[in-house]
Symmetry: C2
Subunit: 267 residues, 2 copies
């Protein structure tokens, strides 16, 4: 039997921080057919609230630290303010959304990052047992569309901050056991560009062979390399395709190969 | 066929504001057999955060007003901080909790209170169409235990602040179409007392006839009257029993008639 199709779509601050962008994105998200999961990152609000509350952003070697005060703020802002407003908007458009952290339904269980040279604080790392796909299937089969913020838990009562890109990718890998899964990363560019300064130079499709060539030719700029490496890792773990594109254009997703850059093993 | 049993249990600030009380309550909640729903109110944190942010509490004729700033705070604190920490604790104890506002799953749809003499701001009022019991049944049948905070939505994208007691009562009435429903209000006293100053003077059971007598004898003090009136209204709308008791004692719920005061139509 053919697997059911599932889209996992991740948005970040450039959508969340702009109410007009968010409105259009959520309308387009509602128009995506079939099973789907939304994963959202943070945006500026958490930083602003931390500043107002006098909580200093803590960085060690350029890496952000989640102390207990910061965890409280992100739980309020990501898990409450942003997540529930997205859910209310989606309901307005007719998507039967349920807003979640990884603690809800025990959907994403992580381990607090061990302290080696740096203590990252309340940050949760995923492993291959973090997500039980059957449990999410039950929720979706009951008619609900999951909307995840980037907070997880350790199963011992502790909430943990976790990278939203990583959550999206881990969900895609875990759920590809049950679904034909496409992972969509929305960002501020139209996709992978031949020329970073030319939005018209979009590369429509990249398979592993082409990816090697593009890297050899140094066409892909350094900021994109980790994103694409992670995408091909997800594809090697069972995800059918990863699409990287601009949130404004999500409405094009229904037209085969007309949204963003599509990474997959097949032509 | 006999209806499945369902407990709807409401807690307020006296549990939420004390981490030790909350810990024990959530452990006892986990031990309650069968289907169950937790509804929680606010507590002091929202007030404290509002003060820190310089948002003045607005009262008109002694009634609290929910302006847009206050709505943001309660969405963060009730929907994020409190709700998600309760869920993480429940998961630790083995309850497969999902934290919800009324926007999630479109579970509780309300109408913004119309402005007559007072503009209450972003407050949602329930009616008999606010809750679709089938939709909640699907979630519970999928194996999840709903944990509601006191935020609802209007179906048009707007979150609204709603009284937690009212939510608990409306859930109980709506779900008694499908379940044999017991509504439990946890508060700081052991239940309805013959003598307000004597915790040992607990009245174990009250039926409508006894209630009339207790009112005639002026045994029930004025603060309890609206609670009990609302309880008997819920019972007349199909709820099997309403129990009013102390959160510390919830572990006694499994022993028939040994927790709090039980209000029902039957002896």
């Amino acid at each position: 039997m053919d697997k059911k199709k599932l889209y996992i779509i991740k948005i970040g601050g450039n959508v969340i921080d702009n109410s007009e962008n968010l409105y259009h994105f959520l309308k387009d998200f509602t128009a995506v057919d079939g099973y789907k999961i939304l994963v959202h990152g943070g945006g500026k609000v958490a930083t602003q609230l931390s500043e107002t509350l006098g909580i200093e952003a803590k960085l060690v070697d350029g890496r952000r630290i989640t102390d207990i005060e910061t965890l409280r703020v992100v739980t309020m802002v990501y898990g409450g303010l942003i997540n529930k407003n997205i859910v209310a908007q989606l309901q307005r458009f007719g998507t039967n959304a349920i807003g979640l952290t990884g603690a809800d339904g025990n959907f994403i269980r992580t381990k607090k990052r061990p302290v080696k040279t740096i203590d990252y604080g309340f940050v949760g790392d995923m492993d291959d047992k973090s997500i039980d796909p059957q449990s999410l299937e039950k929720l979706m089969d009951a008619g609900f569309t999951p909307v995840f913020c980037a907070i997880t838990h350790d199963g011992e009562g502790q909430l943990l901050n976790t990278n939203a890109d990583t959550i999206a990718s881990a969900l895609a890998v875990a759920l590809s056991k049950l679904y034909e899964t496409t992972l969509v990363y929305c960002f501020e560019k139209k996709g992978v560009l031949q020329d970073i300064n030319d939005e018209e130079s979009l590369i429509r499709e990249i398979d592993p062979e082409r990816y090697e060539k593009l890297k050899e030719q140094q066409i892909i700029h350094s900021g994109m390399l980790p994103k694409l490496d992670n995408a091909f890792t997800a594809i090697n773990c069972g995800v059918k395709a990863v699409i990287i594109g601009k949130s404004d254009d999500l409405g094009q997703l229904k037209h085969e190969n007309s949204f963003g850059t599509r990474l997959s093993n097949k032509k």
